[in-house]
């Protein structure tokens, strides 16, 4: 009996050792959902022979893990996610500066000056509403932030929860920008919006399907999620507020103390160049490419025409992230019912 237990424990200890890598691999946490990250990583493997070993986490979860594992990093690259996530990680010293070949070609807002992160795509927020819902209530697609306060939306909006989602953080900073960074005004708006919110979802795209199905009337999402919902055949409208709405660069970063730094750098080189970003259109991923040499796909450009979109200041957002989220939890989230 005792022997059996011992044998089992030895076998278990062997199991505990992570599978040895025969092939060249790079380990990553992907903030992009699997259905977008996987084709990109498959293409990367085809191009370089390096396999990407990854798990998907929402941005808050991914950053939390990276910080928790600081003394013993499990991954080499943090892939995707709104840049404010990466900006927030800088002060915890979890990233290694790295300037890929594309660095010089990128505009200033698509890179951290020291190369702590580099952008791989741009992702504006949009309003997305269910057409049947709009018709039932005799509404037009919302065209300003104030439109969302209309009583017809009571208890019908879905948007992301700032505790876990970068989409939510970008949204909150958009509202701050629109209100000239006047926190009192911005939070007054969010408190007014609260009764119309049915649910704050754990991930950024979590509300898209409910809006598509009509479980929710409308919501605020990244364009990539919204267009994906539309492409699936759901009857939704995409609109932009006239006051403007934020866009977040999607970034990539090398982890400090990475076990496979060379492979990690190769992934960053590839992801920041047209080599990867030219694949967006092919896989119907509606990110706006960050690299100036990659053209915006025609139908995406059509949607974006005339929209007022402004970048979120990564430094301002990174520096104030925690305080603003805490205030959002206390003043907005817990206001309801």
């Amino acid at each position: 009996m005792k022997n059996l237990v011992q044998v089992a424990f030895v076998a278990l200890a062997a199991l505990g050792i992570a599978p040895a890598a025969a092939q060249k691999t790079v380990n990553a946490y992907s903030i992009w959902p699997e259905n977008w990250a996987r084709p990109m990583f498959d293409e990367f493997e085809k191009a370089t022979g390096i396999k990407v070993n990854f798990v998907r986490f929402s941005s808050g979860e991914a950053l939390s893990r990276v910080i928790a594992e600081k003394n013993n990093p499990r991954i080499d690259v943090l892939f995707g996610g709104p840049v404010e996530t990466h900006a927030a990680g800088i002060k915890d010293g979890v990233f290694e500066s790295y300037r890929p070949p594309a660095f010089a070609r990128l505009p200033a807002r698509f890179k951290h000056a020291d190369g702590q992160w580099v952008a791989i795509a741009d992702d504006p927020l949009v309003f997305m509403s269910n057409n049947k819902f709009l018709k039932e209530h005799g509404l037009k697609p919302p065209a300003s932030w104030a439109d969302l306060l209309h009583p017809a939306y009571k208890n019908t909006l879905q948007m992301a929860d700032a505790r876990t989602s970068g989409t939510a953080v970008t949204r909150i900073f958009s509202i701050l920008e629109v209100n000239g960074r006047d926190e009192a005004k911005a939070f007054a708006y969010m408190r007014k919006l609260r009764p119309n919110v049915q649910l704050y979802t754990k991930s950024g795209g979590g509300g898209t399907l409910p809006v598509g199905l009509g479980q929710a009337g409308a919501g605020i999402f990244f364009i990539v999620d919204a267009l994906d919902t539309k492409a699936k055949g759901y009857d939704v409208s995409i609109s932009f507020p006239q006051e403007g709405i934020g866009t977040a660069a999607e970034a990539i970063a090398l982890i400090k103390g990475a076990k496979n730094p060379e492979a990690g750098k190769k992934l960053i080189d590839w992801a920041t160049s047209p080599a990867m970003q030219a694949h967006f259109a092919r896989y119907k991923i509606n990110f706006v490419p960050a690299h100036p040499d990659v053209a915006v796909e025609a139908s995406l450009a059509e949607v974006l025409k005339g929209a007022k979109i402004f970048p979120i200041d990564a430094d301002y957002a990174g520096a104030n992230r925690k305080r603003i989220i805490d205030r959002w939890i206390a003043d907005v989230l817990n206001l309801g019912s």
């Binding site: 278990l12 996987r38 808050g60 939390s64 505790r163 876990t164």
Partner: protein, 569 residues
């Protein structure tokens, strides 16, 4: 090894255990394992909460206890658990009465038992998914059938409904044997003495069933208190509960200390329930001694209309369960539920290609956890029930600890304890296996002790006085006798390894992930097709494995472990 026969105790437990190398080795091994995987993580958790910068501090706990919102989620958790306990026990009692007192036709009994098994072996979220589809603002029932607009599915009501449906089978399986043990002739006698049926139920049946009812209530209370999956999907933002708050605090804000302090607040009620159940309810069972059971009375103790009502209740609930699971199966087989109902096997293709890693990891982990958990259960159960050694009682208590506490607490404790030196296990399969073994293996302890209580010690003593060593006696005599408990333990550990999430959500890593975590991910991304397909797959696998273990049990002809022991927490 000659030993005085009869009930005389050995002079000293210590000298006796020292004289038996196999015993002392197993005891030491177990203590080592318990110290590492139960005591150490708990101490690290407490240290993280109360030991700040080298000094004792209650600031973290105070911050939680003075935060109105956190207090509200504590209150919500307790309210929800109380309601689920009450509603689930009532529903379970209805089912048990129908099964034991109303002559439920055999075919109906089979249907009911099969339907009732479903929620017990399902991964989390399954009823929650089906609930949203049925009762959401555009739900099949609320919108399409009843035409209600703007119905809000999120909140206390639907969480309560979903949890009650998920957990009432525990009450049913607890109460059925209790009712079966109450001799119906006692009720018939009271009836023939002129008491009304209601009076018989109130003054005879109910008092005899009280310990069973209390037990069922406490089991459900604990299950609801620890449930993290259902509220995450259904409670919405207006009804925060503690386990969900703890998860968001840690994964979202990376506030490990805050999350730990929050989870500590959960510890109080959970321990209270555990101790109540252990020291009060388990001792209060009544036995109706009536001598040889007489011919079964034909006098029905249940009025015809009550019988009809109970049947209707059973039929309605069973139909509801079947409907919810049919919906889940349907969602796994169509392109996009609610939008495009063309048949497809794409979701199954997806889970066996892109999701294959999670499936493989889960099966490997379950395959390791199952035998180890089963062994752990019978070993502790046997040692505690049959052997004398110092610290016997504390070993029993400590080995039940991880089982009694909500998974969230155990998961966080493991995360804190094994993320840094000296013992770094995060990112390995071992940490997940250990979590399952020490959490769910504990269910085998009770089953083993209950079985051993029915087996005369003299059997083992005979073997030993004939010269067999402790190890040989255990292997040749005791083990075959307690095999049913072993298989019951195997069943529980396997079910839980396939379906648990509350603890292991904190322990998955790049190398080792789990199906349940995939389901959660798909649920939050609202990829309902894959989420439903994973759930159907898990249910199918668990069904097959449980059928196999039951078949083994039946072949061993040992009467079978009580069904309730297959539940776990």
């Amino acid at each position: 090894m000659a030993r005085p026969s009869g009930p005389a105790r050995a002079p000293s437990a210590l000298t006796r255990s020292l004289a038996d190398p196999a015993l002392s080795a197993s005891v030491l091994l177990l203590w080592g394992a318990l110290a590492l995987f139960v005591v150490y993580p708990m101490l690290m958790l407490l240290a993280r909460i109360f030991w700040v910068d080298g000094a004792l501090s209650f600031a973290g706990l105070r911050a939680v206890l003075t935060d109105a919102n956190q207090l509200r989620s504590l209150w919500n958790s307790l309210l929800l658990a109380t309601l689920v306990g009450t509603a689930g026990t009532a529903l379970g009692l209805g089912f048990a009465l129908a099964a034991e007192r109303c002559g439920l036709p055999p075919w109906m009994r089979t249907v009911v038992d099969a339907a009732v098994l479903l929620p017990l072996i399902s991964p989390p979220f399954t009823t929650a998914i089906a609930m949203i589809f049925s009762f959401g603002p555009r739900g099949l029932i609320t919108y399409d059938l009843l035409g209600i607009k703007g119905f809000s599915v999120y909140g206390l009501g639907s969480t309560l409904f979903s949890e009650t449906l998920t957990y009432f089978p525990i009450a049913y399986l607890t109460l059925r044997p209790v009712l079966a043990a109450i001799d119906a002739n006692v009720e018939a006698m009271a009836l023939s003495l002129g008491a009304s049926r209601w009076r018989v139920f109130r003054t005879v049946t109910l008092p005899l069933a009280v310990p069973g009812l209390a037990n069922a209530f406490l089991l459900l209370f604990a299950a609801s208190l620890a449930d993290f999956a259902t509220p995450l999907i259904l409670a919405g933002n207006g009804f925060p509960v503690l386990p969900t708050q703890v998860y968001l605090q840690i994964t979202g804000l990376f506030d490990l200390r805050g999350g730990a302090a929050l989870s500590f607040v959960l510890l109080g009620p959970a321990l209270a329930v555990f101790l109540l159940q252990r020291y009060w309810v388990s001792r209060a069972y009544y036995v109706t001694v009536t001598g040889k059971a007489g011919a079964q009375t034909r006098l029905s103790t249940v009025a015809v209309w009550v019988r009809g009502a109970l049947f209707a209740l059973c039929a309605f609930t069973t139909l509801l369960i079947v409907y919810l699971y049919a919906l889940l199966l349907f969602a796994s087989l169509v392109k996009a539920f609610g939008a495009n109902h063309a048949w497809t096997l794409d979701h199954y293709r997806h889970i066996f290609t892109d999701g294959w890693n999670a499936i493989r990891d889960t099966l490997i982990i379950a395959a390791f956890a199952m035998p180890l958990g089963g062994l752990f259960g019978i070993l502790v159960g046997y040692l505690v029930a049959r052997r004398e050694f110092p610290g016997r009682r504390s070993m029993e208590l400590i080995s039940m600890l991880n089982y009694a506490l909500p998974g969230t607490i155990v998961g966080i404790a493991y995360l804190i304890a094994f993320n840094d030196p000296p013992i770094m296990l995060t990112g390995t399969a071992l940490i997940i296996v250990a979590c399952y073994v020490f959490r769910y293996g504990a269910t085998g302890i009770r089953a083993t002790m209950a079985l051993l209580a029915q087996i005369d010690r003299s059997l083992e003593e005979a073997s030993q006085s004939l010269g067999a060593s402790t190890a040989t006696t255990f292997r040749r005599i005791t083990l075959p006798l307690i095999l049913p408990a072993f298989f019951a333990g195997l069943g529980v550990v396997f079910i839980r390894s396939m379906t648990a999430i509350s603890a292991t959500i904190f322990l998955v890593s790049l190398s080792w992930t789990l199906i349940t975590v995939k389901i959660l991910n798909d649920m939050t991304e609202l990829l309902l097709g894959p989420a439903a397909a994973y759930s159907v797959f898990v249910i199918a696998v668990v069904f097959v494995v449980i059928a196999l273990t039951s078949w083994m049990l039946r072949r061993l002809r040992a009467g079978g472990a009580p069904a309730a022991s297959l539940l776990g927490g």
